[in-house]
């Protein structure tokens, strides 16, 4: 059963279907959402765009749920799907090693070259010890996401999931369609 949902694209933000007003677009929109809705988590600025997107989307989702206590819990999973994995971070890291004359591989860039880092960022923020997972598919497919998340409740402890589509090609092209799903 879906309890809440959040949609973010470079020029549109919906929380439970209601539009949120904003001034910025693209990755600047994510920073605006952070400043207006979070503001006390400077690690946000170190994240790649995929993680920023997942982070602010999950914050909006959890604010909609309310009663945030940040108590450690193991019964909530974070499971996302997308098409571009960590391609933006990959391209950024590649740029730090492309030129042999200017070869300075960046550890801060490299760590984001895994799509599941965003699930870890959300787990850290909210003290979730539950399942975290990232699955890549060729294209958005609601059925695959639905079936997969339904299967994820086979875990003996999982009672709710922050899940859905979380894709980022670059700072101007991204989409979050995530929701809070409860075990039936």
């Amino acid at each position: 059963m879906i309890k809440h949902n959040v949609y973010i694209s470079p020029d549109k933000v919906l929380v439970d279907g209601k539009a949120l007003t904003h001034n910025e677009k693209g990755s600047a929109l994510l920073t605006e959402l952070y400043r207006n809705n979070v503001s006390d988590y400077p690690k946000f600025f170190k994240m790649d765009t995929l993680s920023k997107l997942g982070f602010v989307a999950s914050e909006l989702l959890l604010n909609a749920e309310g009663n945030r206590d940040f108590e450690p819990r193991e019964d909530r999973a974070v499971i996302f799907f997308n098409k571009h994995a960590s391609l933006q971070a990959d391209t950024h890291y590649q740029s730090t090693i492309q030129d042999p004359e200017h070869f300075f591989p960046s550890p801060a860039a490299f760590v984001y070259t895994l799509p599941n880092i965003v699930t870890g960022e959300i787990a850290i923020r909210n003290k979730y010890f539950g399942e975290t997972s990232f699955i890549v598919v060729e294209d958005y497919d609601e059925k695959i996401i639905e079936r997969n998340l339904k299967n994820s409740f086979q875990d003996p402890m999982t009672k709710s999931i922050i899940g859905g589509w979380l894709d980022c090609l670059d700072e101007e092209h991204f989409e979050a369609k995530i929701f809070l799903l409860y075990k039936d």
Binding site: D90, L114, F129, G130, E138
Partner: protein, 378 residues
Amino acid sequence: MGGRSMIVCVAHNITSPLGMTTAENYAAVKAGMSALKHYDGLWGLPEPFVASLIDRKAFTDDRYTIVEQIVIHSISKALENTGIDSASARVLFILSTTKGNVFLLDKRETGFPQERVKLGVMAKQVSNHFKNPNESIVVSNACISGVCAQIEAMRYLESGEYDYVIVCGVDVQSAFIVSGFQSFKALSPDECKPFDANRCGLNLGDAAATIIFTKKDKVTENEWVACRGAIRNDANHISGPSRTGEGSYRALKVALGDLKADDVAFINAHGTATPYNDEMESIAIERAGLAGVPVNSLKGYFGHTMGAAGVLETLLSMQAVNDHNILGTRGFETLGVTHKLDVSNQNRPTNKRAFIKLLSGFGGCNAALLFAKGGLHD
């Protein structure tokens, strides 16, 4: 577990520098062989490194990238003589990889369209090759992907949607991956030494490994059953392992369930040989009440094969139990973790029939999966 259906391994393959079949790989590891070699100047990298690399020249089908070719080889070998129709809609492909065709991002690589760097597009090459009509899924959960992909397979089979799930884990090393781990100061300048007092980092490795599962109501004594597993997060740091082993401990607890520690032949740990990982695992294993169970790591033979590791290390552990053997931890000499783990660099005998595969990775993720030969008996 009488009456309940079980998820059973029906076929498998390991493709690595140590061999092109599971049997070849097991024989090499049992004999103490390692594929780790020193490389200096390879791929234009300024720093030398030690890795386990597949001979790229042995793969000559230029329709596919080296990564795709190794996957196709591994799955083809696994499917041999099984009678499984890979073109059936009742068969699902699950790939496990961290970086897939990432080497294509290098501007000097021109042999393939950039599209192929997308993991879903890469997976499509593979499923098309086997004429499979389903959308494949790619599990990309850092270094625990290979166990996560097997847990996904168990769930899909449990729900009855498919008759067979083909899981293939793969990663092929490149300047991208090696330089990244170098920037993390995570690579050992020599062959790695898991759980050793003088360990100073990991080695990377190429491999693909395939395991095919189905669901059965009855299993014979010699069939391998994937019993239960879990994925848990440390909720601590995106690259540093937890100081309390939080995620690994919790994943181990679910995997062990009501089985007695005494019935576990060994824990095949992640054992990357970085100072923090091995220490974290010792804490988690202790906390889970498993400190008395033998622990081994296979990184000294293959290096860290990333997306392949979960499948490759599972398969070798199955072969070892079949052979009543606990594989020695190559590179280990003196225990160098806080909690007293039972680690040896020698092969040791066992008559037990179950083992736990344990992994951890960036993003704070951890996974554990319990396997039992002939299934669990109440």
